[in-house]
Each structure stands twice: as structure tokens, then as C-alpha cells.
């Protein structure tokens, strides 16, 4: 058991994180053409709504939730110190989880029942669907059976994840957790490791800077500040051109 635990809870996370980091940076730097959300709305524009929208809002909420629990465990515990607030958080998260699961199932059905989508579907898509569906289902299962996740995540999982990130892996607390929770951890790192090899890479390049950039963009090949003034001779500054 110990060997298995060590492999899945220590080795796998490190492999996954290393692959994720190196792979994503490589793909971003050298394979810009292959970075895309690979939208399929153009080929099927009706049913996508019932999949993509509930899925994405669900996954974004839950992803942010997990991130907050990781970054501010004390804040989450403080918030949860009043039962009403704990209930609100747990129920909201559960609803978003359901929304994500429904979205995923809709996406899966849509993709495999629309003939046109076959050409733009590869094996990795199926792997990702299965992983995400299982992960969401396991997550909901844990939330329902081992309450209250938002509290024990902050006190049990956050220290474990910190120990991974600080290169001093400490699995003492996690090995005692039920196997479903371990499965959730393992699947999470597997998904992270697959990001550079799948369409999931698109969530690393969200269009954040659209919020503050001006609407119009003009690009010059030549530095506009160094343009030729009519008084300087040719050799000093070259005119920019068509």
C-alpha cells in the first residue's frame, strides 16, 4: 500500500506538474498555431449552448473555489465558522458541480451524435471527457458523503499540496483519507498532466488583457517613434514603408 500511495500521491504529482510546466511552456512558445479552444460551434450551433455554458460556469466557479481554498485556507475556515455561511458555500458549490456535470454529459452526447463533429474529434477529446466526467462525479460524491469538504480541504489537503509545492512531500494526513478522495487527487493531477497534450490548454490563455486594451490595434513593422523627420538625412533614420 505504501508503495502505491507513494507513487500516486508523490511521484504522479511531480511527474504531472513537470510535464504540465515544460509541455505548456513549449507549446505556448513554439506551437502558437496549435493553441486554440478549437470551437466547434460553427458546425453545431444549438446544442452546444446546453453543454458549454453550464459546464464552463461550473468549472470556472469550482476551479476558483479550489484555488481559494489552496491560497487562503484560513480565510475559508473563518468563513465557515458560522454554519449558515458554510451551508451557503457548500450548496452553491454543489449546484455548480451539478451544472458542470450536466454540461459535460451534454457535450459528450452532442459530440458523438452529431455526424459533422466526427471530423473535428480526436481520441484525446474522449479521454478528457471521461476524465472530467469521472472527476466531477467523484467530486460530487465526496461533497455529499464526506461533509463538509470546504472545511477539511483547507485543513487536510492544503497542507498536503503545500508540501508538494515546497518539495517536501508529506502524505501522512492524506493516506488516511478514503479512497474516493485519493482518486479525486489522482485524477486531478492526471488532468493537469494532460493539459499540454489536449484542448484543455485553452484555459491557460484566457483573453484577460481584452478588458483593458484599446479596441483598435495598429501594428507597425518599424518603430514609429524613430520615423524620419524631413530635416534628418536618409542615413540616420529610415522611412517606414508599405
Amino acid at each position: 500500500m505504501n508503495v502505491l500511495d507513494n507513487f500516486f500521491l508523490i511521484a504522479l504529482p511531480y511527474i504531472a506538474l513537470a510535464v504540465f510546466l515544460v509541455g505548456s511552456i513549449y507549446r505556448y512558445t513554439y506551437k502558437g498555431f496549435q493553441l486554440s479552444s478549437l470551437s466547434s460551434q460553427f458546425l453545431e450551433g444549438r446544442r452546444l449552448f446546453y453543454g458549454s455554458v453550464p459546464f464552463h460556469w461550473g468549472v470556472l466557479f469550482l476551479f476558483t473555489g479550489h484555488l481559494i481554498a489552496l491560497l487562503f485556507p484560513r480565510g475559508v475556515l473563518a468563513w465557515n465558522s458560522q454554519p449558515v455561511r458554510l451551508m451557503i458555500l457548500e450548496i452553491t458549490a454543489f449546484i455548480f458541480g451539478i451544472s458542470m456535470l450536466i454540461g459535460l454529459v451534454n457535450l459528450l452526447i452532442r459530440r458523438y451524435t452529431t455526424p459533422r463533429l466526427k471530423t473535428v474529434t480526436n481520441r484525446m477529446d474522449l479521454v478528457i471527457y471521461i476524465l472530467l466526467i469521472t472527476q466531477t462525479f467523484v467530486g460530487l460524491w465526496i461533497a455529499y458523503n464526506f461533509r463538509w469538504g470546504s472545511s477539511w480541504f483547507s485543513s487536510l489537503l492544503t497542507p498536503y499540496l503545500y508540501s508538494i509545492f515546497t518539495l517536501q512531500p508529506d502524505t501522512a494526513a492524506v493516506v488516511l483519507l478514503p479512497w474516493t478522495v485519493k482518486l479525486h487527487i489522482i485524477l486531478a493531477f492526471t488532468i493537469v498532466g494532460l493539459i499540454p497534450f489536449s484542448r484543455l490548454i485553452h484555459f491557460l490563455v484566457p483573453p484577460i488583457n481584452y478588458i483593458w486594451r484599446p479596441y483598435q490595434q495598429v501594428k507597425w513593422y518599424w518603430d514609429r517613434r524613430k520615423v524620419r523627420s524631413p530635416r534628418t538625412p536618409w542615413t540616420l533614420q529610415r522611412p517606414k514603408n508599405n
Binding site: 513554439y30 502558437g32 498555431f33 496549435q34 493553441l35 486554440s36 479552444s37 478549437l38 470551437s39 466547434s40 460551434q41 460553427f42 458546425l43 453545431e44 450551433g45 452546444l48 449552448f49 458549454s52 455554458v53 459546464f55 464552463h56 460556469w57 455526424p115 459533422r116 466526427k118 471530423t119 473535428v120 480526436n122 484542448r199 485553452h202 490563455v205 483573453p207 488583457n209 481584452y210 478588458i211 486594451r213 479596441y215 483598435q216 490595434q217 495598429v218 501594428k219 507597425w220 513593422y221 518599424w222 514609429r224 520615423v227 524620419r228 523627420s229 524631413p230 529610415r238 522611412p239 517606414k240 514603408n241 508599405n242
Partner: protein, 516 residues
């Protein structure tokens, strides 16, 4: 004054013969690839008609372009708020069925089928699924008014025309149509650029060509919605959007874009316009009725000393200024004021201008009693009982413009944001040039009459000759005045040429690979 240069275009609609050579030239060079089969960066539409994609002009469906509300100009179906909240599902995205499902035929079956009782046929198959399909639509399904009840009758430009006015257009004797070739307008206020969340689309400062960086596009597919002309297309195979690039590799090499080079009717002109970029924002916010005039106002006179100095200060090359002075586009748009932008009310400030068609208009005028003529005819020809004659008499010339076969209102809705006088003004000029040339070549029109007509149209005899020359005789170099790209300096800018020896080209470091 912030002077910039723009390579822009004029299409002379009177001359387009609807041959689609331009579309084919473009397709062969750029879009003959998987995922791009359905894209027609250049397409030619029959008007009246619904166009491509179907009813693209109707922004209540596609929500393209800019809109002005309470003094603020915003993107109709995209933008920061709308675009980002709709990013997971874009409610205003056209889908493949709004264009057509690309297809081919199984030609090999004709050759390889085993011997049998029946002739083998080449079945159509979808280029998306590979399965046999029944072809229901194509990019030119309504060519030359075919399928009029489904297509021409649904033209969005009819929205302001009464039933009766429309009815008149479709009477068999009066039916008329013309062609509208379209490419990306390389706008001054491009909606596609503004809508792109990842900032992949940009306008080149040097020549104004609007391009999509294929390495940065992430398929958020907002530009497809935002472009009111539907000239940004989504490649469903690579997951990247693509659009007309104005053949910039050809332009940089001094060649005309493929569609223009191959144009059989020689309707296309390309040249530099200098414009004042600092006024764009102001113009875009103006009222609809002023838009076109204000748009034309920011195009500057390339002979004006002040403009030349400001252009040089801004780094515009001497060769480009020289090209601007010889630009056929400048002549049509500014000097003769003969060309208008398409659907200015979308507020993107398109830099492709159209000379409105005159011929289908003037050929209707008069119902004549031709019994006398019929009598004289050979008995077989007697069955010809067309009473509508092409009236070229000059006396009623201006009067008849109001009762033309092709309603002014229709053209005005396309080319002048509803302003009928503006179209009439162009028509008068076009007719005046014809009358002037008739005086010169046939001589049956008196000098007084011809001069009077020219004066009324606001043209001098010299200008009329110029219009005639550029319309009817212009050689290749007159139609395409392409500013030199100065590649020799561009290469210097990059690397020491010796460093790039043995590579595919300067600055290109990796091979292009498609798809994931």
C-alpha cells in the same frame, strides 16, 4: 494631423460581368484547403439577392458592425462585455448552414465502377463528413436571379421599400440585376479588430491591411460575428479564423492582388489613399446622414504641401506619397466623387469603394408603340412584341432618373446609407461622361448641350475624359498603382543576411504545421 497611408480599392460596378473569375483566382491561391473550402474571401453576389452568407446585410440576424446608442458607439454583437460573457457560447455566430456545406463529387466512381447495366454517376459528398449529401445550397445559388422567390425577394435592402415598389422590380419586362463583388474592406474602424478578445487581429500601420495572426487566434470566434460584411471566416478544421489578406505577399512584391489581376471586366482599381487618422474616432460618432461625407473628408489631398510634410513626418516613404498622387482610387473617390462605400451605416469606415451601376438603370425608360416597326419586320420576328425600349434621347435625361427601372431607393440603401441624392449625383456624372464621349465620337450632340450636361453634373470636359480613360481604356499600370515595399530595407532591419543563409526565408524560423 496624423497622416497614414492605406492601400484601398475601387470596384466599378458598371463593368462587372459576374464571371466569378476573381473568386476562383482567390480560392486557388488561398482557400483551397481543408476547413477553408466554404470560405470565399472574394465572392460575387447578384443584387437583388440575399448574398453570402444568406442575408448577411441584415444585422438584426447577425448583429455585426457598430451601433450608435445614446451617443455611444459600441459593437452590436461583440465587444468587451458582450464578447467576454458570451465566450463559452456565442449566440450570434453564423453556422455552416448559413453558408453552405462544402461538397465535392466522387469522380473516381465514373472510372472505377465495375461494368454494369447502368451508367455510373459521380455522387456529391460532403467535404465535412465525407458522406453523400443532397446539395441544397451553394455560394452562388441565386446567381443571375435564379430562385428569385427564395432569394432576391428576401434581399434585406428591401426593408424600406413598399410592396408596390418591390413588385415593380420583379415584373418580367422590368427585371434588372447587377453584380456586387465583395472582399474584405480593410476598414479604418474595423469591427473585427475591436472584437477579438485575444488581440490576434490588427491593422498594419504601413498599408492598412487588416490581418489575423494565426499564432495568436484562439478561436473565441467573435470576429465572425462582429464583421458586418461577414468577411472573417472560421476555419472549422484548424480552429482559427481567417480572412482576406489583400494578397499582401503579392502587394509587397509589386503585384496586384489575385482577384484584381485576374478580373475579366477590369472593374478593379487599387491605389494608396492618405488619410488623417486623428479624426477617425470623431467621424465614427457622427450622425448616420453625415457618415459618408465625413468619411470621405478624412481622405487627404496627396498634392497638398502640408499633407506631404505631415506624411513625411509620420514616416510615410516618398515612394508611397508618389503612389498616392497617382492613385486611381483617389481619382474616383475624391477627385471625381464617383465612388461610395458599401453600407456606411455599419460604421466600420470601409476602404473599398464602389462606383454605382448605371446601365441597368438607364435602359428602361420608355414604353413605345412599335406597331409600325413590327410591320416592317420579317414575319418570324413579328412575334416580338416588346414595347419597352432603351431610350437614349438626351432631352429627358435628368427627368427620367426618377422613374428608372432599378429604384434609387434600393441602391441608396446599399451604397449611401439611404441618401438618394447621393446616388443620383453619381448617376448624373456617369451619364454626363457618356454624353460627352458621344459628342466626341459620334458628334450628334451639340457642344452646348454636352457642356450644359457636364456642368450640371459638376465635371469638366477634362475630368470627363479622365473618367472615360480610367473606366474604358486604363492599362494595368493605371489601374494598379502599388507603392514599392522597399524589401531591401526590410531585410536589413531583421538580421545580417548571412545569418539566414540556408533557411526557408528571412525571419521564418519554423515550418508551418496545421491542426492539433
Amino acid at each position: 494631423m496624423d497622416v497614414r497611408s492605406q492601400v484601398s480599392m475601387v470596384f466599378h460596378l458598371d463593368k462587372c460581368i459576374g464571371c466569378h473569375t476573381c473568386s476562383i483566382a482567390c480560392k486557388n491561391i488561398w482557400t483551397d484547403r481543408k476547413g477553408a473550402e466554404y470560405m470565399w474571401w472574394n465572392n460575387v453576389e447578384t443584387k437583388p439577392g440575399t448574398g453570402y452568407p444568406t442575408k448577411w446585410e441584415d444585422q438584426s440576424i447577425y448583429r455585426g458592425g457598430w451601433q450608435k446608442e445614446n451617443g455611444k458607439v459600441t459593437l452590436k454583437g461583440a465587444g468587451k462585455r458582450r464578447g467576454l460573457t458570451n465566450i463559452f457560447y456565442n449566440p450570434n455566430l453564423p453556422v455552416i448552414d448559413d453558408y453552405y456545406e462544402p461538397f465535392t463529387y466522387k469522380y473516381l466512381d465514373l472510372i472505377e465502377s465495375p461494368e454494369g447495366d447502368d451508367q455510373p454517376t459521380a455522387r456529391p459528398v460532403s467535404l465535412i463528413t465525407g458522406e453523400p449529401i443532397d446539395i441544397k445550397m451553394g455560394p452562388n445559388w441565386d446567381d443571375d436571379l435564379s430562385g428569385t422567390p427564395d432569394y432576391a425577394r428576401n434581399d434585406p435592402n428591401f426593408k424600406n421599400m413598399s410592396e408596390a415598389e418591390q413588385e415593380v422590380m420583379f415584373q418580367l419586362e422590368k427585371m434588372a440585376f447587377f453584380y456586387l463583388p465583395r472582399i474584405c474592406n480593410h476598414c479604418l474602424n474595423p469591427a473585427c479588430v475591436a472584437s477579438c478578445p485575444s488581440g490576434a487581429i490588427y491593422k498594419r500601420g504601413e498599408d492598412g491591411v487588416v490581418l489575423i495572426n494565426q499564432e495568436v487566434c484562439r478561436a473565441w470566434r467573435m470576429c465572425v460575428t462582429a464583421c458586418p460584411y461577414k468577411k472573417s471566416y472560421y476555419n472549422w478544421h484548424t480552429g482559427k479564423s481567417e480572412k482576406c489578406i489583400l494578397c499582401f505577399p503579392r502587394i509587397e512584391a509589386g503585384l496586384a492582388p489575385a482577384c484584381m489581376h485576374s478580373c475579366v471586366g477590369r472593374i478593379r482599381y487599387l491605389g494608396v489613399l492618405l488619410y488623417d487618422a486623428s479624426k477617425i474616432e470623431d467621424v465614427v460618432h457622427d450622425d448616420e446622414k453625415n457618415l459618408i461625407n465625413r468619411h470621405l473628408d478624412i481622405i487627404l489631398d496627396p498634392f497638398d504641401e502640408k499633407v506631404i510634410r505631415a506624411a513625411k513626418m509620420n514616416g510615410v516613404a516618398d515612394s508611397t506619397i508618389h503612389a498616392a498622387q497617382n492613385s486611381p482610387v483617389y481619382k474616383y473617390v475624391k477627385e471625381w466623387k464617383l465612388a461610395l462605400p458599401l453600407h456606411a451605416e455599419f460604421r466600420t469606415l470601409p476602404m473599398l469603394f464602389y462606383v454605382p451601376p448605371l446601365l441597368p438603370v438607364m435602359a428602361t425608360l420608355k414604353q413605345v408603340d412599335n406597331t409600325e416597326q413590327s410591320e416592317k419586320m420579317n414575319p418570324i420576328a413579328k412575334y416580338w412584341d416588346d414595347n419597352w425600349l432603351y431610350d437614349t434621347s438626351t432631352a429627358e435625361l435628368w427627368g427620367t432618373l426618377d422613374q428608372v427601372r432599378f429604384p434609387l431607393k434600393y441602391l441608396a440603401s446599399m451604397l449611401s446609407a439611404g441618401n438618394e441624392d447621393m446616388i443620383k449625383d453619381k448617376w448624373k456624372k456617369l451619364m454626363a461622361v457618356r454624353i460627352h464621349r458621344r459628342r466626341v465620337t459620334v458628334g450628334d450632340i451639340s457642344n452646348e448641350k454636352a457642356d450644359e450636361v457636364l456642368k450640371e453634373a459638376g465635371l469638366t470636359a477634362e475630368q470627363a475624359e479622365g473618367v472615360f480613360y480610367l473606366t474604358a481604356l486604363a492599362k494595368f499600370e493605371d489601374r494598379f498603382v502599388i507603392p514599392p515595399a522597399h524589401r531591401e530595407q526590410a531585410i536589413e532591419m531583421m538580421d545580417f543576411t548571412g545569418d539566414a543563409k540556408g533557411e526557408i526565408g528571412f525571419g521564418i524560423k519554423s515550418k508551418v504545421r496545421r491542426g492539433i
